[in-house]
Subunit: 202 residues, 2 copies
DNA sequence: CGATATCTTGATAAGCATCAATGTGAGTGG
DNA sequence: CCACTCACATTGATGCTTATCAAGATATCG
C-alpha cells in the first residue's frame, strides 16, 4: 500500500470539519486552503490560509478541532495518521521538517494573536497586505472574499471594504479588481502595520 | 558536557527578549511563564502563560520573535539549540513529544485566535476562567495581574475588572482576594464561553 | 503604619458593528 | 447578444461595546 496519495478539490469543497475523526494528515501541494473555527451562533474565525508546504490535521486529539475547505482549486497529499506517525518516527529528516513547519506556524499564530488583540482596523489590513505580498510581488491576488478577510482579521465585511477604500484614497494601494491589489507604497504600508502614529494627511 | 541544565528565575525576571539570538530552548519545569509580543508604541499581546511541560524558543529563525519572563518563581530546563536539535534528531521519542506539544500549542493558539477575533468581553473572561480551571479545581489562582489578563484577552484593565465584577454579581464566581477566583457555576460559565445567547437576568 | 502598586468604579468618547441601500461583476437563459 | 439574476462589494447613517480619562478603594511591603 502507498504511504500517501494525491487528491484534488474545488473551491468551497470541504477537506475536514470540526468534530471529524482526526485520522488523516494532509500536506498542501498547491492552491490555498481556508482553516476556521465556528461559534454555535455562526461567528467564524479564520485561523489561516495555508498554501503549499503546510500540514493540516496535526491536532493531537482524536477529533478535529477546526475545519478546512478550499479557497482555490487545491491539491493535497493525504496520509493516514498511522502512516504519518510511522514516517515521522522512522525518518528523522521528515520529523524535523514537520517540527520546523509547526514551529513556523506557531510563530505566525503569535503574530496573528498580536494583530487580533492589539491592532486597529487599518493596521490589521496593512499587515494582511504586507503578509500576502511577502509571498509574492507588488501586485497581490486576493482569492478569498471580503467576508473571509473580515473573519481572518476579526472585523466585518463593511470595515474591510471601508479600510481598503481608505488605503486606496491615500495612494497606498490600487484595486484594479476586487480580487487584485497593487501595493504602491510598501514602506508606508509596512509602517502602518507595525506603528500607530505617523500618517494622518491624505 | 551536560545535555541540559536547570535554572531558576524570580517573578519578573526575563528569560529572553524579542530580538535575542535564538540559541537556546527551554522546557518549563515548574511555575508560570508569561510570553508576549510588543508593538513599538508599547501595546502588548500576551500569547500564553506556559506552565510545566511546555517548550520555549522553538522559533525557527535566528532571533526570538517574542519575549518571555517569569510570572511566578519558575524552574527551567535549558538546552543549547544545538544540543536540543541533536536530541530531537537522535531520540525519536523525544522528537515525538516535542512535536506533540507543538501541535497542542497550535491548537490552543487557534482557540485563542477565535477568542480574540470573535468573542465579547464576557465570553473572553468566562473562557479564560474555564481554561484555568481545567488546569485545577473549582478555585483558581490568578498569579498574573489584571493588566496581564487584559493583554492576554485583548481588553483593558478596566474592562477585565468590570467583567469580573459582573460575573460576581451574577453569582457565577467569587473573589475572596484579587488573585483568587472561586467558580460557583461552572456550567453557566462554560456556556458563556462558547455561546452568546442565553443569560440576561441578573 | 505609611508609601506605592494594583484594583475597582464612574463618566465620557471613539472605533467599529449593525442596519440599510446601492453598485458591480460573473454566469445564465431567452 | 442582451436582459436577468444572484452573489459579492461598496457606501451611508446610526448605535453599541469597549477604550479612555479620571478618581477613589484596597492590598502589599518595607
Amino acid at each position: 500500500m502507498a504511504i500517501s496519495s494525491l487528491m484534488r478539490k474545488w473551491p468551497g469543497e470541504i477537506v475536514f470539519a470540526e468534530g471529524d475523526a482526526a485520522d488523516s494528515v494532509y500536506e498542501v501541494v498547491a492552491g490555498m486552503v481556508r482553516r476556521f473555527k465556528l461559534l454555535p451562533d455562526g461567528r467564524r474565525q479564520i485561523t489561516g490560509f495555508p498554501t503549499a508546504g503546510r500540514f493540516l490535521g496535526l491536532a493531537p486529539g482524536a477529533v478535529c478541532t477546526d475545519a478546512a475547505d478550499a479557497v482555490t482549486e487545491i491539491t493535497l497529499c493525504h496520509y493516514t495518521r498511522a502512516a504519518f506517525e510511522r514516517l515521522a518516527g522512522e525518518v528523522p529528516d521528515f520529523a524535523q521538517r514537520v517540527l520546523s513547519v509547526a514551529a513556523l506556524e506557531l510563530q505566525e499564530a503569535q503574530n496573528q494573536l498580536l494583530l487580533l488583540g492589539r491592532k486597529t482596523a487599518v493596521e490589521k489590513m496593512a499587515s494582511f497586505l504586507v503578509l500576502l505580498a511577502d509571498r509574492g510581488a507588488d501586485a497581490v491576488d486576493l482569492p478569498m472574499t471580503r467576508g473571509d478577510i473580515a473573519d481572518y482579521l476579526g472585523l466585518t465585511v463593511e470595515t474591510v471594504s471601508r479600510t481598503l477604500t481608505e488605503l486606496r484614497r491615500k495612494g497606498l494601494i490600487a484595486l484594479p479588481s476586487p480580487n487584485r491589489v497593487e501595493l504602491h507604497d510598501r514602506a508606508r504600508l509596512a509602517a502602518l502595520a507595525w506603528h500607530t502614529a505617523a500618517e494622518s494627511a491624505a
